[in-house]
């Protein structure tokens, strides 16, 4: 079923439009407070936006015209065919696992026997059949989230909403639940809110970045994370992002802090906006200018050296580099003074800057 939503919440300054094609999984990423939860809760029918419209297949979920013009439609949550899976499993503590999963079929009017058969089917789908007789209090976090997935799927939703389904899970069990989600989300219309790029890559066909209540970027995971349009997406993808104007073989960044010298042959025309993305691990730091003339380089003040396990992150205002502890020790005296950051052309992705319609301030 195709799904579309237009959403407007005045006091939170949220204005979003998105569609989900039949069988498509869309990942929504964004900073905290960007409006992601507002989006999911409005679609689920748990909060009422100021105005907007949403449709799932032929069913209007809500139609709230601005300024009271026309008929207002608000379909209650239980008649939307939209199921919400939250960060916490929220299994009903007074019901067994089987009865939790059978809850939706029972509510839809199925007989007790039929509802339990449906529940067993979905428990098998999430590899949790042996847990059927248990109480939620007797489950581990990963098991409980599996059951919550089965319970949501047992309602046969036209659209499945997942609100950071893996965020509360132990790091050791998250991968198995993610694989299970990948399996059950095939050919299912779903919106997944997440903070994890890995979730977006493994689970989603399309990624939407929401910042300050607006969609700031949209595309396949590869498009959004290999060629990020904004700082947020670049940060998620673990990339340095430099944006500026091309001048010959240099990139003049917008804040004019640094000029990147030695750009490869121009792929974009002179004077046009250009983005450059590079992994911190590919960047080298030196006090003296790099000797290899083929390296892309820029000079910037070294702000600090931040130990991160087996490597050290050297940060400047425009670029970060991951260096070995040995190199970091040599750089220690250079903190607060300009150093050279350099990286090979092959490590950099250069692409024309696409101005986002609602670029975040």
């Amino acid at each position: 079923m195709t799904f579309s939503v237009d959403l407007h919440v005045t006091d939170r300054d949220v204005r979003l439009h998105l569609t989900v094609a039949a069988g498509e999984t869309v990942a929504v990423l964004g900073p905290n407070g960007a409006g992601k939860s507002t989006l999911l809760n409005s679609i689920a029918g748990l909060i009422r936006p100021d105005s907007g419209r949403s449709q799932l297949g032929g069913t209007v979920l809500f139609d709230l015209p601005a300024a009271g013009s026309g008929r207002r439609v608000w379909r209650p949550a239980h008649r939307r065919g939209v199921s919400l899976l939250a960060q916490e499993p929220l299994l009903f503590p007074h019901l067994s696992v089987l009865d939790n999963v059978a809850f939706a079929p029972r509510s839809a009017g199925a007989s007790a026997r039929h509802a339990r058969e449906t529940a067993m089917h979905w428990l098998r789908q999430v590899d949790a059949e042996p847990l059927a007789a248990r109480r939620p209090a007797e489950l581990s976090g990963g098991q409980a989230q599996r059951i919550a997935v089965a319970r949501a799927l047992a309602s046969d939703p036209g659209l499945l909403l997942l609100d950071e389904p893996l965020a509360a899970l132990d790091i050791s069990v998250a991968p198995a639940v993610r694989r299970m989600l990948r399996r059950v989300l095939v050919d299912r219309s779903a919106i997944i809110v997440t903070h994890d790029v890995l979730d977006a890559y493994t689970l989603a066909d399309r990624v939407i970045i929401v910042e300050n209540g607006r969609i700031s970027d949209e595309g396949t995971p590869a498009e959004v994370f290999d060629r990020p349009r904004g700082a947020f997406a670049a940060g998620l993808a673990g990339l340095n992002l430099l944006t500026g104007i091309r001048r010959g073989t240099t990139l003049i960044t917008a804040d004019a802090v640094a000029a990147v010298a030695n750009l490869p042959e121009p792929g974009v025309t002179e004077g046009s906006p250009l983005s450059l993305a590079v992994r911190p691990a590919a960047v080298a730091v030196s006090i003296a200018p790099p000797t290899d003339p083929r390296l892309i380089r820029l000079q910037a003040e070294l702000i600090d050296l931040e130990p991160r396990g087996d490597f050290v992150r050297a940060r400047s205002a425009v670029l970060a580099a991951d260096v070995s502890p040995k190199e970091a020790a040599q750089l220690d005296t250079a903190v607060g003074s300009p150093v050279w950051f350099s990286f090979p052309t092959s490590a950099a992705t250069l692409y024309p800057t696409v101005p986002s319609e609602n670029s975040a301030p």
């Binding site: 029918g45 748990l46 939706a104 509510s107 309602s155």
Partner: protein, 272 residues
């Protein structure tokens, strides 16, 4: 207690001393009453015709009042805990007023509502129903004073449980009544039970509103507290024996409420 479980306790000695005085103040009168009981005549005293009639009437009316409290108190608690409307705070204070109102005032208020010349009295008279000074009036007086106990404890429990389970239930296709029956009520059953037990206890001890609104007619409106009050003048031994019966009933009820209250607290902690 094992030495490992001993933790720093910050109770100064003078606080403990005041606590002991307070506890003595509560327990001493009970002991004084028990000492005054005429044990040789105890059974005959409490099994006299008027005593048994009063006890049975008390149990019957308190039970009926408790049922009314559950039927109307649960919806009231749900509306107060789950909805948001203008004047809700004021309404809550007014609904809980019987908690702090002198019962005799409640009785007068009921009299001017259901009495023959009361607000609704004429209506009921037309229907051929007489309420004041009947057993029905006893039940109404008890319900009036006991209802806030159930509403208060249940509303607190509903707020503690929160609405997240209910929201999930709705997204799974359950309508409001199904959510209420299969999620909300099962989660607050301990609070309903302990609230009902408290209401029952309050109804059982009701005196002022009953006397004012229902009078004191043996067999139909003279409940146990009224009987004790009357006997005190003429037959102190009976009054003391019946008082002891009420004390025992109260202790049983408190321990029941305590037992059912604990799981509700534990569950609330699990949820939070």
């Amino acid at each position: 207690m094992s030495p490992a479980a001993k933790q720093y306790s910050g109770v100064p000695a003078w606080v403990a001393a005041l606590a002991v005085v307070g506890a003595t103040f509560v327990l001493l009168p009970l002991a004084a009453m028990v000492l005054r009981v005429n044990w040789a005549e105890f059974i005959p005293l409490i099994s006299s015709e008027s005593s048994v009639a009063a006890l049975l009437l008390s149990l019957r009316t308190s039970l009926a009042a408790t049922v009314l409290c559950v039927i109307f108190g649960v919806p009231m608690a749900l509306v107060l805990a789950r909805t948001d409307f203008w004047g809700q705070k004021l309404l809550r204070s007014l609904v809980l007023l019987p908690l702090v109102l002198p019962p005799v005032v409640g009785g007068i208020a009921l009299l001017y509502t259901f009495g023959r010349r009361g607000l609704l009295g004429q209506t009921f008279e037309v229907l051929g129903i007489d309420i004041a000074f009947t057993t029905t009036a006893v039940v109404l007086a008890q319900t009036f004073v006991a209802l806030p106990f159930l509403v208060l404890s249940l509303e607190g429990a509903l707020r503690t449980v929160g609405t997240r389970y209910e929201a999930i239930g709705a997204t799974l296709g359950a309508g409001p009544s199904t959510v209420l029956r299969r999620i909300t009520l099962p989660l607050v059953v301990p609070a309903v039970v302990s609230g009902a037990v408290l209401s029952f206890a309050r109804a059982l001890g009701e005196f002022g509103a009953t006397l004012t609104f229902a009078g004191s007619l043996q067999g139909s409106t003279r409940t146990l507290p009224l009987e004790i009050y009357l006997q005190r003048e003429t037959d102190p031994d009976t009054a003391v024996a019946l008082s002891l019966v009420l004390v025992v009933v109260a202790i049983v009820i408190v321990s029941l409420a305590h037992r059912t209250g604990r799981p509700s607290l534990r569950r609330a902690r699990e949820l939070s």
